[in-house]
């Protein structure tokens, strides 16, 4: 990776990164940290979830948005049908292998900063289908997950507790200058799917460096192939 530099007529001076190059003591005293705190407050107080109900957990997610539990008290009531307008993905339900590439693609389509809540045993690790042939063993193989909510399905209170924990996580992120501690998925499916599997090929093309099996570069946001006139009509 090439570090950013300033070109001052011949000599290239490396640009300081405010996250890694500023000393620990100084970092909290900079104006950046104060602005970040305001950003963090704004971000955690208006999380817009993308609608991503996959199974029975979605019913509890809908119940959480209803008047009895009222997700609007946490500023997260605006369920968006478009991932472009959302910054939180609540993966509620069983993620099958068939559904795994769309999950990854919708995550890539969301604008940064974005967070993921894995709701229910199925998306946490596969749940009762963990040893099955058709289910992804944990949605964290596909997208980085911030908060795991156990339950089958979790009660609406559990999801609210998960949302409150996520708000704490966002606050901590900004206290540590935007460093994300959640592990990124590796994109290695060689232990789960056989060689030549079309879903494996599609999933691997959605991970860096975003190459298809024929070596073409995909668009890193939409997964679309460039200069492919038949992309939308062929599927």
């Amino acid at each position: 990776m090439v570090s950013p530099t300033i070109d001052t007529g011949g000599a290239r001076i490396p640009l300081l990164d405010p996250v890694t190059d500023v000393e620990e003591e100084l970092r909290s005293q900079l104006l950046v940290s104060t602005v970040d705190k305001v950003f963090g407050w704004a971000r955690r107080s208006s999380l817009w979830p993308a609608m991503f109900g996959l199974a029975c957990c979605a019913i509890e997610m809908i119940a959480t948005a209803n008047a009895r539990y009222d997700l609007a008290r946490f500023g997260a009531e605006v369920f968006r049908a478009s991932p472009r307008q959302a910054d939180l993905m609540i993966v509620a339900g069983t993620v099958t292998w068939k559904m795994a590439p769309p999950v990854r693609r919708i995550y890539l389509q969301m604008a940064d900063p974005k967070w993921v809540i894995s709701m229910g045993s199925c998306s946490n690790i596969g749940g009762p289908f963990a040893h099955g042939y058709s289910t992804l063993p944990g949605v964290n193989n596909v997208v980085p997950v911030d908060v795991y909510v156990p339950g089958c399905p979790p009660r609406p209170e559990s999801l609210l507790a998960g949302l409150m924990l996520l708000q704490q996580v966002i606050d901590d992120e900004h206290a540590h200058n935007g460093r994300k501690r959640r592990p990124e998925p590796t994109g290695d499916f060689s232990r789960m799917l056989p060689e030549g599997d079309p879903i494996r090929a599609e999933l691997e093309s959605l991970f860096p460096p975003y190459l298809t099996s024929s070596g073409q570069a995909r668009d890193r946001f939409t997964g679309a192939l460039p200069h492919d006139e038949n992309f939308y009509t062929s599927r």
Binding site: S121, I125, R155
Partner: protein, 161 residues
């Protein structure tokens, strides 16, 4: 077609509902009463457990691990008792299978984590959770029976008999 008819209708609905009690449960401050057999977390009480591992055999997910060792008097010492709450589907079949009601439903349901491996609870974690539950509920088990307040580790105490 009257101008403002829709707004008047909407305002009438607001006026009608403004004196009704609020249905929203302010969750972190107040909690709803949950039914006694709701699918909440499992609580395992070491003092009731005999180590027969019927729960582990009845679990469809295989998320319970029991490892025992025979004592001199013929009873079992439970060396390891672990529940994988990542895998658990909270069906409660283990609670129905247990002949001594050592594992019961009724625990907390807000144990959200950022690291999924923290949901794997070993024996010490489960004892801690059970003690926490009993302290909060006036030393009454979820099935309504009275628990004995004890300071000695139950397995140790049974060994002295």
């Amino acid at each position: 077609m009257v101008f403002g008819k829709g707004i008047a209708k909407g305002l009438m609905t607001v006026v009608k509902h403004v004196r009704k009690p609020v249905v929203t449960v302010q969750f972190p401050e107040e909690e709803r009463n949950i039914p006694p057999r709701a699918r909440t977390n499992l609580v395992w009480f070491v003092e009731r457990c005999t180590g027969c591992s019927t729960c582990a055999q009845s679990c469809p997910d295989g998320c319970i691990l029991v490892d025992t060792e025979p004592r001199e008097d013929g009873s079992f010492l439970v060396n390891r008792y672990e529940i994988d709450f990542r895998l658990c589907m909270y069906c409660g079949l283990c609670t129905e299978a247990c002949p001594y009601e050592a594992i019961q439903v009724g625990g907390s349901y807000t144990n959200v984590v950022t690291n999924p491996n923290n949901l794997y609870q070993d024996k010490d974690d489960l004892i801690e959770l059970a003690n926490e539950y009993l302290e909060q509920h006036n030393w009454v088990y979820p099935n309504g029976q009275q628990a004995v307040q004890q300071s000695v580790h139950p397995n140790e105490r049974r060994q002295h008999h």
